[in-house]
């Protein structure tokens, strides 16, 4: 993007262009930057909550035998950990980054639907308060895994209707967020900002938003059917009444597989912003990156049953879903090759955002390899529902999605706060996280292959060594994240002043406004030549 922005006139001619004073600023705000900040803090807090749950899980698994928690509570922890991490950490973080950056990247003054924006954020704390409160109810919280398969999920106690309602709330919030993003990108691009000039983060979010709008209602439908099965005498999923428990799995994964791409596509976009900047070279194959993202999104709708190879599908179904799933590796490979080609013969430097982006490329690819192995039905029968799967999805989610997010935060933090963060703390955060994340998740491949099922609170003694290593990694990784908190707080409080450009190789509209970015940017809009 060689866009030249005519810097926004901050001396606008109306009065209320600064934030409202006091706490009400955050409650009533319709400013995309404030709402972005709210989303990001919310996500960080939930990251620590979900992380604590993971540490409960890992502590129980430190050695064979039941030491700390009841198996029923253990199941509540795995279920809640996943729901918190997916709906409370990764998705809100992406929406937060989108809120902050999309308008600034496409030269828009704000999001298209600012009041809805406020609402879609403020639903979240209520939704999660309700979901977390189920842990205190009679019979405990949901314990059937985040996939909520019936009939097991129908055995949930008092928590059940609250769980369903909170999922509805999170779904409403996501759909509103997604509609807002689509509306903003469609309508508020600056003159000259054609689709094929949009930065990749904008593109990946644009596509993600359509995925969200398409599949969140499917999840809502599935959980509503659970609700009526439990309380209103329907039997959608009860064979005794003519229903089919496997039908739930089909519906769930028709949501669930696009959902996993919702959790990764925006990170693809983030990495595609960061790598060119620190390689001082334009992104290689911009248009093929856009097409690859679109093909991944399309394919993500026709692969869902790869999560269900053991349910006893017809042979033709198994073969179909194996082929389509393997096909997804092609556009994903194209992305990785393009990132590597972007680095090739660039002039690289290794500031913290770049470290996280490089970590992303390597470790996401490792997760992709195990994904390819899982795609092959005959051998998936061995891997399915073992720790090999846990290793796989954590490689794509933690050093994948989460690394993309953290990289993005470091990348734009100077633009948000006006101060440079501490590079040495950032590097320390990266190296500790990267060492521990591998100590944590790599051994899970081994115990999975050796036959340890997932979602179990206790295991046979031959799995003990690697579980111990993984638990050590978990505590290391968890504590390393405190560095992130310290660093962000320090950066907000002060530090070396950031320039507008911030990074030598950075290009794009967001770097043309001052640091910190003024409360209102781009009114009037810049013209892109």
């Amino acid at each position: 993007m060689n866009a030249q922005a005519t810097d926004a006139h901050h001396d606008s001619d109306h009065d209320h262009h600064g934030p409202a004073p006091g706490l009400m600023r955050w409650v009533t705000t319709t400013n995309h930057k404030d709402i972005g900040t709210l989303y990001l803090w919310f996500s960080l807090i939930m990251f620590f909550i979900g992380g604590l749950m993971a540490l409960v899980i890992r502590s129980e698994l430190f050695q064979p035998g039941l030491q700390l928690v009841d198996p029923h509570f253990f199941n509540q922890m795995t279920t809640m950990h996943a729901l918190v991490m997916i709906f409370g950490v990764v998705m809100p973080a992406f929406v937060g980054l989108a809120n902050w950056m999309l308008p600034m990247m496409i030269g828009a003054p704000d999001m298209a639907l600012p009041r809805m924006n406020n609402w879609s954020f403020w639903i979240l704390p209520f939704g999660f308060a309700m979901m977390l409160s189920t842990l205190l109810m009679e019979g405990g919280g949901p314990a059937a895994g985040w996939t909520l398969y019936p009939p097991l999920s129908l055995q949930t106690g008092d928590a059940f209707p609250f769980l369903i309602f909170s999922i509805h709330l999170l779904g409403v919030s996501s759909i509103m967020g997604a509609i807002n993003i689509v509306a903003t990108i469609m309508n508020l691009r600056a003159p000259g900002m054609t689709f094929m000039k949009m930065p990749l983060f904008v593109w990946t979010w644009f596509i993600t938003a359509y995925l969200l709008i398409a599949v969140m209602p499917v999840l809502a439908g599935a959980v509503t059917m659970l609700l009526t099965d439990k309380f209103f005498g329907t039997s959608f999923f009860d064979a005794a009444g003519g229903g089919d428990p496997v039908m739930f799995q089909h519906i769930f994964w028709f949501f669930g597989h696009p959902e996993v791409y919702i959790l990764i596509l925006p990170s693809f976009g983030l990495v595609s912003e960061i790598i060119p900047t620190f390689s001082r070279k334009r992104l290689f194959g911009y248009s093929s990156m856009v097409y690859a993202t679109a093909s991944i999104a399309f394919l993500s709708f026709i692969v869902w049953a790869h999560h269900m190879f053991t349910v006893g599908m017809p042979l033709a179904g198994e073969i179909f879903f194996m082929f389509t799933t393997m096909l997804i590796a092609v556009p994903t490979g194209v992305k990785v090759f393009n990132w590597v080609s972007t680095m090739w013969r660039g002039a690289m430097t290794f500031e913290t955002p770049m470290l996280f982006a490089l970590g992303f490329v390597v470790m996401f690819t490792i997760g992709g390899f195990s994904g390819l192995m899982l795609a092959m039905t005959p051998i998936d029968f061995q891997y399915h529902d073992t720790y090999f799967v846990v290793a796989h999805f954590h490689y794509v989610l933690v050093p994948g999605a989460i690394y993309g997010i953290i990289g993005g935060v470091y990348y734009w933090l100077p633009k948000w706060t006006g101060n440079m963060y501490s590079e040495s703390l950032g590097k320390m955060h990266f190296w500790l996280s990267t060492i521990f994340v591998n100590v944590l998740f790599f051994p899970m491949h081994f115990v999975g292959l050796a036959g340890m099922p997932r979602r179990i609170p206790d295991y046979s003694v031959q799995f003990a060594d690697f579980n111990q290593i993984a638990t050590i990694g978990a505590f290391g990784f968890g504590f390393s994240q405190i560095l992130l908190l310290v660093l962000v707080v320090k950066c907000i409080r002060g530090g070396e002043k950031a320039t507008d450009q911030v990074w030598e190789g950075a290009e794009g509209l967001e770097w043309t406004v001052s640091s910190p970015a003024p409360y209102h940017t781009f009114s009037p809009q810049p013209v892109i030549k």
Binding site: A239, I456, V461
Partner: protein
């Protein structure tokens, strides 16, 4: 900065090497080769795919490493300006595509073979229950329940003070293993009485869900005699981690002997329902049945878990309503975790567990329930 590459390279390469090399065999890093033709083919395909991934990794991460080492600003390089190449894009679309096709076809062929359940010589119906397995040999009529071995169960009770490493096959041992003859095609019919479970023996490379209301099929032919262990592989509630599967593969002669012995034992059990039982006898048997079938939910102390599993200690039904008590055990309560035990427990077992529940803990009713009473309620 080549540090990152080196660290990752060592981690990934080293891990793959150890996973494939024999050096660490005792650490159990890799998939088992197993003891069936299918499991060996699965293992080979697993290794092939892993090596393909490994070499792609070497190329991709290698290219990254070279850039990171050579194309860094601190070396004073000026960045190139190229940023697209249609040729390259087509190339790295087509090459992976071809590699994938070459993997997909053998996989599809293998899948066709794995799903062919025809011409089985023995058929076993496997029913999952929370949290045990029921086996019924449809040809010979042998039928039994298999649940976690008492030693493991005891050691896995919080506060037991028993070190799991001192228990033989901790969590992988059952009271009644499945027995199969070697060299014969065995077909499994899988279903469930409550929630979804999954039956998995890694050494046979077979795993399939047991789904209430539906029947799934799979098959195996075991080549080598031995004992093979697996676990339930679908989250099925509180004790999901505690419902292992043990298969003993024996020679055909030994298998036949086992079948005969099982049938004889079943006859003895059936006749025991017709006589009068003494209190001590019932209490002793009842405690066992309770420990194996009921304690997982209602707890050994009879106090249940508030809000999930009701207490039987002091329960009005247990204290007063004999018919209701027997009835709920025979027929369960639809829509709750309390399942029907009519098919799993014989009259003596049910009489014993009812007597036990009515006299254990603080429930000192002094009542004795005879198997004949249970039998008469079954007929209704």
């Amino acid at each position: 900065m080549n540090k990152i590459q080196r660290v990752m390279g060592i981690l990934f390469g080293g891990a793959l090497w150890t996973a494939t090399g024999p050096a660490w065999a005792e650490w159990e890093l890799n998939l088992t080769e197993g003891v069936t033709e299918i499991s060996r083919e699965v293992f080979d395909m697993h290794m092939t795919v892993m090596w393909i991934c490994f070499w792609i990794g070497v190329i991709v991460f290698g290219a990254m490493a070279i850039s990171i080492v050579k194309h860094r600003k601190s070396k004073g390089v000026t960045p190139a300006t190229f940023h697209e190449s249609t040729f390259a894009e087509i190339l790295w679309t087509i090459i992976p595509f071809v590699i994938l096709i070459s993997m997909a076809f053998p996989a599809a062929k293998m899948l066709i073979k794995m799903e062919d359940t025809s011409d089985a010589e023995i058929t076993i119906k496997v029913t999952g229950h929370q949290w045990k397995w029921e086996y019924e040999y449809l040809d010979s009529g042998v039928k039994f329940i298999s649940s976690l071995h008492a030693d493991s169960r005891e050691a896995a009770t919080p506060g037991s003070g028993i070190d799991p490493t001192t228990v033989d096959n901790y969590l992988l041992e059952v009271d009644n293993p499945v027995v199969l003859p070697t060299g014969k095609k065995v077909r499994f019919l899988l279903t469930s009485s409550d929630v979804i479970h999954a039956w998995w023996i890694p050494a046979f490379a077979i795993k399939k869900d047991a789904i209430p209301g539906f029947i799934n099929e799979m098959w195996t032919v075991v080549d080598e005699e031995g004992t093979y262990r697996g676990q339930c592989a679908e989250l099925c509630g509180r004790q999901h981690g505690f419902m292992p599967i043990v298969v003993e593969a024996r020679s055909e002669a030994e298998y036949d002997e086992w079948v005969t012995a099982q049938l004889a034992a079943a006859e003895v059990a059936a006749s025991s329902a017709d006589r009068e039982w003494a209190m001590d006898e019932l209490m002793e048997r009842g405690e066992k049945v309770y420990g194996t079938y009921c304690a997982a939910c209602h707890q050994a102390n009879g106090n249940g878990i508030a809000g999930v599993f009701p207490a039987l200690n002091g329960s009005p039904m247990v204290l007063e309503d004999i018919e209701g008590h027997i009835n709920i055990i025979l027929n369960g309560k639809p829509g709750t975790a309390m399942q029907a035990f009519a098919a799993q427990l014989n009259d003596a077992d049910i009489a014993a567990v009812v007597t036990y529940e009515r006299n254990a803990w603080e429930n000192e009713t002094g009542e004795i329930i005879q198997p004949a009473t249970v039998k008469s309620m079954r007929i209704q």
